[in-house]
């Protein structure tokens, strides 16, 4: 007989608030009827070809409007929402989409938290991803071909930033392990580097030529083929917005967010452990492993608790961000390493 024991952090599916309800609540709380009426009127004007004025202004203030406009021409929008993989559940309510998409780190666009507007300058088509390094056959693939090469699924994951804020979101993507197999790494490949976009014309950060652009970070091959590692192409049942790393990014939810480059253009397989962007900048604060641990403080703040986006609720941080049963074994025998920085 198989006995299913629910983990302390698991919630039944029925306890998860649907996105529509969350968005409706957020809209009502923030905007009220008059704003909705304005948006409706703006949409109507847009349909009449008069949207350059009120529609554009309304859209300019509304991140969801921006997002919908961004994905209107996404050739893959029909792939969303993908079927949810029920194996991955949450111990907390989903973060409101409206909160998650306006509080982002994207260092190329600045180090403040309101970079979502600036990030709209990121053009995500045409877009290619290059697979190179220690692989059987280096290749460059169009993003739409890549996304359609693997079945998409939705997973509910916790996300933890090293800055001690957190969210719980429904990512859409495909297992990173599938991409790794498709890339056909050679026997000597031990690490996988993910490189973010580098377009100096659209992001002010690139003018700071003293930083080691482009933004890169890396994982071990074993981490990449772990079942939790996901190549993310969407969130909340839609293609990713630019500020969250469109059109594609890795998510390894047991690690701090900075380890996971956004808007990936290159994936390189190497034999030697590489040094990522933040480790090069501040090695005393940001290391290679960067696994979540409440008992290992950042040099400048505690990691014991985390602040949930939107609600501001403080929750105890979970070791491995609550995914220990899936990933703790990856680090057996590595106690001498700085696993949590």
């Amino acid at each position: 007989m198989v006995v299913h024991r629910r983990k302390p952090w698991q919630l039944p599916e029925s306890a998860i608030t649907p996105e529509e309800a969350v968005l409706a609540h957020a809209a009502a709380k923030r905007s009220g009827p008059s704003r909705r009426a304005l948006l409706g009127a703006a949409t109507g004007l847009g349909a009449l070809g008069l949207g350059g004025g009120p529609a554009a202004r309304a859209q300019g203030r509304d991140p969801i409007g921006w997002w919908n406009a961004q994905i209107a021409n996404d050739p893959n929008r029909g792939l969303y929402p993908a079927a949810r993989n029920d194996r991955y559940t949450l111990d907390r309510p989903l973060t409101e989409a409206r909160e998650a998409i306006v509080y982002n780190n994207f260092y190329e666009f600045g180090s403040h938290k309101e970079i979502w507007r600036a990030a709209q300058r990121l053009e995500t088509r045409p877009w290619t991803v290059t697979i190179d390094g220690l692989v059987a056959s280096p290749k460059t693939v169009d993003i739409d071909t890549l996304i359609r090469a693997f079945p998409l699924e939705e997973r509910l994951y916790r996300f933890r930033c090293v800055e001690a804020w957190a969210m719980a979101v429904p990512w859409t993507g495909f297992p990173l392990a599938a991409l790794i197999r498709w890339a056909e790494p050679l026997g000597g490949a031990k690490y996988v580097i993910f490189q973010s976009f580098e377009n100096r014309a659209i992001a002010p950060g690139f003018r700071q030529t003293w930083y080691p652009w482009p933004y890169t970070d890396a994982f071990t091959l074993e981490e990449c083929v772990n079942e939790l590692a996901l190549m993310v192409t969407g969130i909340y049942g839609k293609p990713l917005p630019p500020q969250m790393g469109a059109p594609i990014r890795p998510i390894l939810p047991w690690k701090y967010g900075f380890k996971q480059p956004k808007s990936v253009v290159r994936i390189t397989f190497v034999a030697e452990r590489p040094v990522g962007f933040w480790e090069r900048l501040q090695p005393s604060e940001y290391g290679f492993w960067a696994n979540v641990n409440p008992d290992v403080p950042h040099p400048r703040w505690s990691q014991a608790t985390e602040r949930m986006l939107g609600t501001g609720e403080r929750r105890p941080t979970l070791i491995w961000n609550g995914y220990g049963e899936h990933v703790a074994h990856l680090y057996a025998g590595l106690a001498h390493e700085r696993l949590f920085a």
């Binding site: 600045g110 180090s111 403040h112 938290k113 309101e114 002010p204 003018r207 700071q208 030529t209 003293w210 930083y211 900048l281 501040q282 005393s284 604060e285």
Partner: protein, 101 residues
């Protein structure tokens, strides 16, 4: 008091002039090897103390105003280091109060 100000401006001016020699010499050496590239102030700061540069950016953008970094501080840091340092040092030395009698 006048003497103190004169002394401080003199010391600071000389220090800035001396500091300008380091990037100037590196640029000259690079030029000889055919790889000349201007060294901006930000590069110099980053080489000396990366965490403080990063903290300054985060502090200004998050706690003061994003534009203050992007439109004011960053453009200053993009200026070539040695002319700025040498220019500031020269100005300080030139503007020192005259010696009191």
């Amino acid at each position: 008091m006048r003497g103190l100000v004169r002394g401080l401006m003199g010391v600071l001016g000389v220090l800035l002039l001396a500091a300008s020699l380091w990037p100037a010499a590196r640029e000259a050496l690079a030029a000889f090897s055919g790889t000349h590239r201007l060294i901006p102030l930000g590069q110099l700061w980053f080489e000396i103390d990366p965490p403080s540069l990063n903290l300054a950016q985060a502090g200004i953008q998050r706690h003061v105003a994003p534009w203050l970094w992007e439109d004011v501080v960053q453009p200053l840091l993009e200026l070539p280091a040695w002319p700025v340092l040498a220019g500031l040092g020269t100005v300080l030395l030139a503007l020192r109060p005259s010696r009191s009698r």
